[in-house]
């Protein structure tokens, strides 16, 4: 890898752990010349290519949308691809795996607890038609879309779960991400499944264990504001318990057009150049 003209040599303290060799995690120090604009992810790539090919981490898109590269960087959970080294304003950059998750190896957390808790709140539309695919479209006004839109941009990076102080001590707490997604679906006009989610939500380690620290909102790289979602979820559950929530209207399906008529102004596609595949006839 070639870099732009180096402007500063930065010391990287990396949390290393190989379960096959190490009894416990350890710190390893390395230095790297860093130029303006270089992200922590790019620095890790450079360190792996030039100094230690055994360094392990997760990453994919390198543009802040996949959520894979969550790490604990200088004391805060961040996406490595969205964190510029020189913007940390420190000669020493500490990189560790996300806290509140088991550590698989080096900077790789085991995110299974996140996905299990997320699945527990049934993060999909529930409207009495679980077994049947929809036969048409569910109409939704812009206002109805706005009610849950902010919470729908979660990329499941898990940074909020790392930042949460309740998660740090209570492994059974559902956590900001699942709770925010539970609210995302309860607030969706196409969903009528609040009662079906109560087993997970109206529980000992559910939303009422949230103390509104707000660290999850601070950590979120996409502006989801899970802390707000959890408080709105508490309000939703409270109104439901008091019988004040009212009955949500059953989402109405608008049938698709019986016959599809292509737009004549759009030219036909060119002929296929590859053989057909069973999954792509």
């Amino acid at each position: 890898m070639t870099h732009a003209t180096a402007t500063q040599t930065i010391t990287f303290r990396l949390r290393r752990y190989d379960p096959e060799k190490d009894a416990a995690p350890r710190w390893e120090t390395r230095t790297l010349p860093v130029s303006e604009g270089m992200t922590v992810l790019e620095a890790l790539h450079a360190l792996k290519a030039e100094q230690d090919p055994t360094l392990a981490w997760r990453s994919s898109c390198r543009m802040g949308i996949c959520g894979s590269c969550g790490m604990f960087i200088n004391g805060l959970p961040r996406l490595a691809c969205q964190t510029q080294v020189l913007h940390l304003a420190s000669d020493v950059v500490e990189v560790a795996p996300l806290p509140n998750y088991p550590n698989v190896k080096d900077l790789v957390p085991d995110l299974a607890p996140l996905f299990e808790k997320h699945a527990a709140v049934r993060p999909h539309l529930l409207n009495g038609a679980d077994d049947q695919p929809p036969q048409g479209e569910y109409l939704q006004t812009p206002e109805q879309r706005e009610a849950y839109g902010q919470f729908s941009i979660c990329i499941k990076c898990g940074l909020c779960m790392s930042a949460c102080p309740t998660m740090a001590t209570d492994p059974h707490f559902l956590g900001p991400q699942p709770l925010a997604q539970a609210y995302r679906y309860c607030a969706d006009s196409r969903d009528t499944g609040l009662r079906q989610r109560l087993e997970a939500l109206d529980a000992l380690h559910g939303p009422f264990q949230c103390h509104l620290a707000g660290a999850c909102t601070d950590a979120c790289p996409k502006g989801v504001d899970p802390a707000l979602a959890i408080q709105l979820l508490k309000r939703t559950l409270s109104l439901e318990a008091l019988g004040l929530r009212g009955r949500k209207p059953t989402p109405r399906e608008v049938p698709l057009a019986a016959e599809f008529k292509p737009n004549e102004k759009i030219p036909a596609p060119p002929p296929r150049t590859v053989p057909t595949h069973p999954r792509n006839p």
């Binding site: 309740t166 000992l204 009422f208 318990a241």
Partner: protein, 118 residues
Amino acid sequence: MRETRLWLLSLACTTLLLFLLGAHFALMHYSPVFYGQTVEETRTFAALLERGRQTAFLVIYLLFLAAALYHGLYGLRGILLELPLARSYGRWVSGALVVVGLAFFAYGTYVTWWTFTQ
């Protein structure tokens, strides 16, 4: 919706405590301002007994006792549930706090009723 109702009850107790504590402070610490009595006069045993014999104070004391006990023990339950222990531990915590709460409420009610009947 058990947990939701328990949480709502804690909010109700907190609101009730706001008024009851305010009244308590007014009586016990600012009595010259609100009752025209000195602080020492309001705190004598005779004054305490006289208040305790009134039905209004009986009701206030019992409400105060119930709200403070629920508020405190619900908060303690929240703290204890955050300890990194087995999931089944939560039921034992809740059960133990219910027993403790009922015991303290019974004792406090006994003392309040004894004062009322003097």
